[in-house]
């Protein structure tokens, strides 16, 4: 098996590079753009939830803030999209840093409720500030990104754009998870008091990882706004926060590649459930419950376990035959 982190990462990059050739000309390449964006978001949430053990039910808000800042400042005020993207990420990161101190003092369901509340407040602001955001009907006319002579105006170009950023985020997250900071975060996860006794500045570190998570989400939001050319509040509500949480848990808590698997499954699923029409929501809820019941460790741990069981099962069959 590929165990070394560098081998894993190279294999992952290779997979991402092969996908456009496999999906050539298919609309699925467009879906894969969103898989990239959702992967970033799932990793952002996973750093917070899977590593530091701090739940957030309001991460869609950071995603939405990034998207709306990019959308409004480029479409309405004609500012440079790249500059805006960076400025938005910094701004959202600062906001997260400031609100992080009071919010992350909370624990368990109180933390869940506070982040949820924050998410809903931001969502309502998107809806109500009609003059700026266009309200519930959304904001259109967001320009595509341009880099010199290259305009990112096709699905394939957007695929490369989004996935380059995503791969960088993956690299960052994998390195972070395996560093002193990553170990400190896991210590906080297991016992905050014990971590503090060992000299980890838990309070600050939690807020820092919360802010980093918000920065990644904001970047994903900016990319989303420019690739979609349109944003509406419905994409950033409570439901999406829950969907992100589901991606992280179904993929596997505390696994960066697991977040990719979770994002892949939950983004592709609606595409394959089209034939179910209105029944898809029922199926979605059912799948969520069944997944947790039978793969509580997420895909990243559940699939190898399943394969192992199948292999040992086959061996038993062989001995019977013999």
């Amino acid at each position: 098996m590929i165990k070394h982190p560098l081998c894993k990462y190279t294999a992952f990059v290779a997979l991402i590079l092969i996908i456009p050739f496999v999906l050539k000309g298919s609309y699925l390449i467009n879906v894969m753009v969103f898989v990239g964006i959702n992967t970033m978001l799932a990793i952002a949430l996973n750093l917070l939830l899977g590593y530091a053990g701090q739940i957030s039910l309001g991460h869609a808000a950071f995603f939405g803030l990034g998207a709306y800042l990019s959308g409004v400042l480029t479409a309405t005020h004609g500012m440079n999209p790249w500059l805006v993207m960076v400025a938005a990420a910094v701004g959202v990161g600062l906001l997260a840093f400031v609100i992080g101190f009071p919010i992350l003092r909370l624990k368990g369901h109180y933390l869940a409720m506070a982040t949820l509340g924050f998410g809903i407040i931001v969502y309502i602001v998107f809806n109500e500030t009609v003059d700026i955001t266009g309200g519930p009907s959304g904001l259109s006319g967001i320009p595509n990104l341009k880099l010199g002579p290259v305009a990112f105006d096709s699905d394939l170009k957007n695929y490369y754009l989004v996935w380059i950023v995503t791969l960088l985020v993956v690299l960052l997250a994998v390195n972070l998870a395996d560093s002193r900071i990553g170990r400190s975060l896991r210590a906080i996860h297991d016992s905050e008091v014990a971590a503090r006794v060992m000299g980890v500045n838990a309070r600050l570190l939690k807020v820092q990882i919360f802010a980093l998570s918000a920065v990644i989400s904001s970047l994903a939001g900016s990319l989303y706004a420019h690739t979609m050319a349109f944003v509406a509040p419905a994409s950033f509500g409570f439901n999406f926060s829950v969907e992100l949480l589901t991606m992280v848990v179904i993929g596997g808590l505390g696994s960066i590649y697991g977040s990719f698997l979770g994002a892949l499954l939950l983004t592709l699923l609606p595409e394959f459930l089209r034939f179910l029409h209105d029944y898809d929501i029922v199926f979605y809820g059912l799948l969520l419950m069944v997944m947790i019941m039978f793969m509580p460790g997420g895909l990243v741990r559940g699939i190898p376990a399943l394969l192992r069981r199948m292999m040992t099962g086959r061996k038993k069959g062989e001995t019977v035959d013999a």
Partner: protein, 291 residues
């Protein structure tokens, strides 16, 4: 001044609803440690089943209400047996996801069965407003306050004066010790789901004449109930009721005096402020962690 009285009165009525839903959250939380995100769906089921029995099957109102509570309670019972009990050893986050999955499933089924339309349910005793000083009150408001009060008294009686209620409190305090003295903890968990789905559906029924009902009304009502429970420190007693009333009145005043578009935002801002000042809820005791 007149307006403030008016907003406060209608705030008390919605606050009572939040309190009922919040107590449902607390009962399940105390018995199992689970935050049941499907709680709002039982509220929705209460309203929409009443509509179904009343309008489509032509039952009388009281019959429809009894059947709706029974139906929603059966759903709660099934939910516990099929989704929660098999997962007894799951991590808290997985349990939260399962309840979210359950809420999506129930909401989806309701959408398939009753469609996406909003349905109205008639008031229990007419719509002639009653004047109280300079403000007016609908008879339905009185029904809401009366029924909530009755349910809370019943609740108090159940938890403090019946053997099952005392057993449930023992489970909340320490499930292992409760099991050791012969209490059937699994049955108590099931009972907690039955009680809270019944209470949730009743809340959905009594508010339906004021707000109409549809397959998706459970989400916001559920979250507000959760707010009330958090403000009240996740207890099953008066503090959640006070939390619900506080939330209802402040939200109603904010919506009336500041902006109705921000009504839901105001509720959550109040919640955040309370949590920032008192991280353990307004009435909760600070917990110390043992290492």
């Amino acid at each position: 001044m007149e307006q403030i009285l008016q907003y406060s009165l209608s705030g008390i009525a919605t606050g009572a609803i939040y309190a009922l839903i919040g107590i449902g959250f607390s009962i399940i939380y105390n018995a199992t440690g689970i935050i049941n995100f499907a709680q709002g769906e039982f509220v929705m089921l209460g309203g929409i089943l009443t509509f179904f029995f009343l309008d489509i099957l032509q039952f009388p109102l009281w019959g429809a209400i009894i059947l709706a509570v029974t139906g929603a309670t059966l759903c709660g019972l099934l939910f516990e047996r099929l989704a929660i009990r098999p997962l007894a050893k799951a991590t808290p986050i997985n349990l939260v996801i399962v309840t979210i999955g359950g809420s999506i499933l129930i909401r989806g089924l309701a959408m398939l069965i009753w469609g996406k339309d909003t349905h109205s349910v008639p008031s229990f005793s007419g719509d002639n407003p009653i004047a109280i000083g300079s403000a007016t009150l609908l008879p339905q408001h009185l029904w809401i306050m009366g029924i909530t009060l009755a349910v809370i008294c019943l609740n108090k009686y159940f938890f403090y004066h019946t053997i099952n209620g005392k057993a449930m409190r023992a489970c909340a305090y320490n499930p292992r010790a409760a099991g050791l003295v012969g209490i059937d903890v699994k049955r108590m968990v099931l009972l907690s789901f039955v009680i809270s789905s019944a209470m949730g559906s009743l809340a959905g029924i009594i508010i339906a004449p004021l707000t109409m009902t549809a397959y998706d009304v459970g989400v916001m009502l559920g979250l507000k109930g959760f707010c009330a429970a958090i403000i009240g420190g996740m207890s099953t007693g008066m503090s959640v009721v006070v939390g619900g009333l506080l939330l209802g009145v402040l939200e109603s005043l904010g919506a009336g005096l500041i902006s109705s578009g921000y009504k839901d935002a105001i509720a959550f801002i109040i919640l955040l402020l309370i949590l920032f000042i008192r991280p353990q809820g307004l009435f909760g005791k600070a917990e110390t962690e043992r290492v």
